[in-house]
């Protein structure tokens, strides 16, 4: 009796969790297979699979919207930002954890407090700062902002790693005649590999996907990144009711990040759970 009840409960749970999984997967597949249809087919039956799989929509989306530029910008901006965040957050976290002074602790708190600033609130004043410094509408300016707003989380993660690292390591390195530089990059930094992987993945995801910073701080089309590109595509194709091209464009942005996630999902979920919720 009891066992039967447990089994029935299990079936209900499986059904519910399966349906929720479907609510995630189906829209994704829908966008993918629709992008191979023609507009006529799509309007006649939005749910059906394409009669003939054709690539024309992708050619249209790629050529008409200049996806090449957007993609290149996204890659360059994201890679440079992530690289800089890793260098700066790991060194700063290390220094602040190891200086046993009051100001070290205070600065660490100042950096981590940045986690509680909703970025959407300071966009106007940030805009004026960027404008005054002639960094508005430049890729460099956007990179600086990505780095700055990645620091709080990254420093939080890295400082957690350095706190748990034995001090003797660096002392040994110093006795061996290492300069502080060498000791850090050759000994300490490699040992914090797991922390580095975490911040690389986490920052890559948010910077690659960011929409509002790119929209606010870049104006020229030649500088824009992919998320802004897809919105521009939507705005222009909505009026023409050229839905299938829009679906194709959406895929060009969506599929790479989903595939990348599926390849790296082991590291991502492991990384995100290392020390990140310990408040």
């Amino acid at each position: 009796m009891n066992r039967k009840k447990v089994k029935a409960g299990g079936a209900v749970r499986d059904l519910f969790s399966g349906l929720y999984g479907l609510a995630i997967l189906f829209p994704v597949f829908w966008v993918i297979y629709t992008s191979f249809k023609t507009n006529g087919e799509f309007v006649a039956n939005p749910w059906a699979l394409p009669k003939k799989w054709q690539l024309e929509n992708y050619v249209n989306a790629w050529v008409k919207i200049d996806f090449q530029t957007y993609t290149l910008n996204s890659i360059v901006i994201t890679l440079i930002s992530v690289f800089l965040v890793v260098i700066l957050s790991s060194t700063v976290a290390y220094l602040l954890v190891r200086t046993q002074k009051k100001w070290g602790e205070a600065l660490l708190m100042l950096f981590i407090a940045g986690l509680y600033v909703p970025t959407s609130l300071i966009l106007p004043s940030e805009f004026t700062v960027m404008y005054d410094l002639h960094l508005w509408n430049t890729r460099i300016g956007l990179v600086i902002l990505y780095v700055v707003f990645s620091l709080p989380y990254s420093i939080l993660i890295m400082s957690g790693f350095y706190k748990s690292m034995p001090k003797e390591l660096e002392e040994a390195a110093a006795i061996d005649g290492c300069t502080a530089h060498k000791a850090f990059w050759k000994v300490i930094f490699p040992l914090s590999k797991n922390g580095v992987i975490t911040i690389v993945i986490f920052n890559f995801v948010w910077i690659w996907n960011d929409y509002i910073f790119a929209l606010t701080f870049l104006q020229d089309k030649e500088l824009q990144t992919l998320p802004v590109g897809i919105i521009a595509l939507m705005e222009s194709f909505k009026l023409k009711a050229d839905w299938v091209t829009l679906f194709a464009g959406l895929n060009i942005v969506m599929v790479p990040s989903v595939l990348l996630y599926i390849c790296f999902q082991k590291y991502l979920t492991k990384g995100l759970t290392t020390g990140s919720v310990k408040g």
Binding site: R98, P118, L123, P124, T273
Partner: protein, 297 residues
Amino acid sequence: MSKVTGKKKSLIILYLIPTLIIYGVFCVYPCLKSLFLSLCSWSGFSDEITFVGLENFRRLVKDPIVWKALGNNLFILVFCTLFTFTLALAFAVMVTKSRRRYHKGLRIIYFIPYVMSIAVVAVLWTFIYNPSFGLVNGFLEKVGLSALQHVWLGESDVIMGALVVPLVWINVGFYMVMFIAAILNISEDCYEAAAIDGANKRQQFWHVTIPGIWQEIRTSLVFFCVTAFNYSFELVYVMTKGGPNRASELLTTYLYEHAFTYSDYGYASAIGVLLFAVLFLIIFIIMKGMKAGYRDE
């Protein structure tokens, strides 16, 4: 020992000082500037900044759209949190110790929306809600519930509900992963002891799992409040622009409009200060309210 610290000076000059400067200029300073601008009248591009005291806040209190937007922000915060955390916790408990491939697969799938750009999610859900070809209306028609069909993003009484769904859709997987890690940190002994005492699965959940991850729930909740402001802003900005007729206006979209459409930086900053005060209050309540910890009766 002092030799070690002495050698660190070069590291400090090379890395700490520049990082502090950019963090100060691009994060701390804009925060303070927002605070200052909220007491001023300024169009952004003129050199004339007039100090007007609390004038912007007086205007704020009398502005019906501000109250409407604040209500919408709170609506999103309450319902997103409720659904996201309930689902994330339920799924985490279900899949954490399971060795079944089915559960491992679900774990991967649930996280997918979190790695998509908010821009992609917004466009995707604009399609899903489309009145003529969208999946929601199509589904309702197929199962014979045509009466429930709506122009989801165009009717003011369903729009806020329609916006909560994608926000939950994005975040469930992320918080599920957080909770899975927290549950794995609970010592297996606790469960064994509970089982020996005759606790069934449900009792184990309430008396072992929940107290065991209480701290993580609290931290996630605070983190979620901050991110919910950003996510909802971007989603609304792309999907509805605050429409129809301001029905989905948020404080954040209203702030953005005042700054970048009307160049009214003083008023925009005042909205920002109000929003920050609200957020601070909510975080304070969460921290205080949950500080006592989970009382296991």
